[in-house]
Structures are given as C-alpha cells and as structure tokens.
Amino acid sequence: MKKRICPACNKGSIVDLKKPGRRTPYRNIPDLEIPAELAIPTCDHCGEEWVDAATSARLDDALKEAYQSVLPAKVENALRQLTEAGVTQQELERLLGLSVGYLSKLKSGKETSTQLIGMLMMLAAEPSVRVDELRELWRTTTSSPQVVETKVTEQGSSMRMVITDVLPSIPAKNVSLSGHDYPRGQRQTTENVVEASGRFGRRSAS
C-alpha cells in the first residue's frame, strides 16, 4: 500500500489530524476556531492541509455550528457596551427600525442577522458618538451647514457666511469659513465673521 506523500513539500505524509487551536476564515469572521475533534488531512511535515469533498462538507457543517454560537456572544457584548453608555435596547430598536423585542431574540440566537450584528458592533465601538450621529441622521430637517451670502457693499466685494448653530457637536469657534476681508493672518471664524459683518454694516441674506 502506497502512502500519500504531501505534494506541497514532498517530505511529509498526509494524515488525518485532530488538534485544537486551528483557525480559519469563515463567512465574515476572519479567525473562526475549527473544532478540535474535527479531522483534517494534514501533512505531518509542512502542516499543509489537503481537503477533499467529504472533509469540506464536514468542515462547513462544524464551522456553521461554531459560527452560530459566536454571533449571540457578539450581540451580547455589543448590547452590554451600548447599555453601559446609557443607550437602552428599546431606543436601539427604534433607531434601527426593529420590532420590539427583536434584539433580545438576536441575543438569544433565535434570530440571526449578520448585517444587524455588524451595525450593533459598529455602534458599540463608540456608543456616545455613533448613537448620537444616528439620532441626527434620522432627522428630516437639514443638519448640514446653512450658507448665507453676505454682501459687503462698502468694499464692493461679497463673502459667504456659514451658520453652524445646527451642528451642536462642532464648536463654532473651530469652524473655518470661506470668505475674505479679515485681518491679515487671522483665522476666519463665526466670531470674526460677525465682527466683520458688524464692521461692514449691512448684512443681507439672499
């Protein structure tokens, strides 16, 4: 009986190997652990795996099970981080357009949605910022800066002024504005826009 030599190294033999600590990409998880009791034809010299159809099917079955057990843990972890940041499950369900109790089903593994779990993990990575952003993004009123054209008749020129009040998270003094006619070397901010417009007198929105 001829032994099967590994064609990758031509040194070792391909044997069915069971061992813990093997990891593989599977769906959207880059490092899912392969169950230790699962045998994979592996070279005993170079460690290269050679997988036939039957092993592929067994691997996929085992990995699917492992994957299904990882997802609820991801949900639970994300929800814990969000709750600690003061975001309730009820508000999250509302923000994400989910039915009441859906997140509990996701956490228990009764429901599966990898897209939703991805979204929860993204929110949980920086809850106070990202949940606030999501609240703002759902608004139907504009949240982008309003631009008001301001004519400065004395100088015969015009400038644009940006009203930043609708963006409370951005301090007005840090917003750089388009325009000109400011003292040389001075940064253009809302304060000096207002100052400039006061200096120039009339201001009219068009």
């Binding site: 009986m1 001829k2 032994k3 099967r4 030599i5 064609p7 990758a8 190294c9 031509n10 040194k11 593989t24 990409p25 599977y26 769906r27 880059p30 034809p41 290269e48 795996e49 050679w50 997988v51 036939d52 159809a53 092993t55 592929s56 099917a57 691997l59 996929d60 990995l63 699917k64």
Partner: protein
C-alpha cells in the same frame, strides 16, 4: 521547443467535474476563504475555474524533489476567469494560478491535488504572458 504539460488536462477537468480532488497547498484554502464564504463554495469555484482551462493556459511543469531524491511534478496554469464566473462569485481578482499533480493513492487509485490562488506575478503561458489583474467592484 513546444511546451507540453506532464499530465493530461482532460483528466483534471473530468476529476474536477465530479468533485474528486484534494484542494490545498500554498495556503490555498486560507486565501480562497478570504474571497468565498465556505469550503464547499471554494470547491465549486475551483470546479468551474478548472472547467475553463485550455492547453493554451499551460505555463510550466514544476519539479519538486521528494525525500528519496526523485522529482515530483506539478503542471502550472494561468487563466483569466470569465466575467460570468467572476460575477457569480463576486470576485475582483481576474487572473488565477492553478497548479495540479496526480499521485497514486492508498489503494492504487489516482488522487488529484489542486492548488488555486489569485495570480501573484506575471507568468508566460503557451498563449502568451498573463499578469495579475483586478477589476473594480463587481
């Protein structure tokens, strides 16, 4: 001198069509699983890719030395996958490298070992040079 593969390509295509091959080598599965969701999908992709191979895609017969000092051979191919195949599997890598050998199995049977990964460097084939190529998002 005309380059000729060591192994009959038709036999490989036939073995692939009935899913009778070992897939691996060069961390092939780890690479394929970065593009495809699971092992069975990887096999289906390889089956369809191999079905597209022609003699003109042959590149070279690669020799490896075994522990007895004998040489073992692999036939190397490079192929530009069809748009249909790339679309079907959502692939951005257009050009692929395929290496295969046929060995005697435990029971005297023949075992096809196939290694597949995106082409990493230009290769010269019977039909001319092929270089790595990516397409924009499908």
């Amino acid at each position: 001198m005309e380059r000729r593969p060591k192994f009959d390509l038709e036999r490989l295509v036939e073995a692939a069509s009935v899913d009778a091959f070992m897939l691996g080598g060069s961390r092939c599965l780890v690479i394929l699983l970065q593009y495809l969701p699971d092992h069975l999908t990887c096999r289906r992709f390889v089956q369809e890719l191999v079905a597209l191979l022609s003699q003109g895609d042959f590149c070279n017969t690669k020799m490896l030395e075994d522990r007895k000092g004998d040489a073992e051979d692999f036939d190397e191919y490079g192929i530009e996958a069809s748009t249909e195949l790339l679309d079907q599997y959502g692939m951005e890598e257009v050009c692929w490298y395929i290496k295969f050998t046929i060995r005697k199995g435990d029971w005297g049977d023949e075992v096809f070992f196939i290694s597949v990964h995106p082409l990493e460097k230009p290769i010269e084939r019977v039909d001319g040079w092929l270089s790595p190529k990516r397409r924009l998002h499908s």
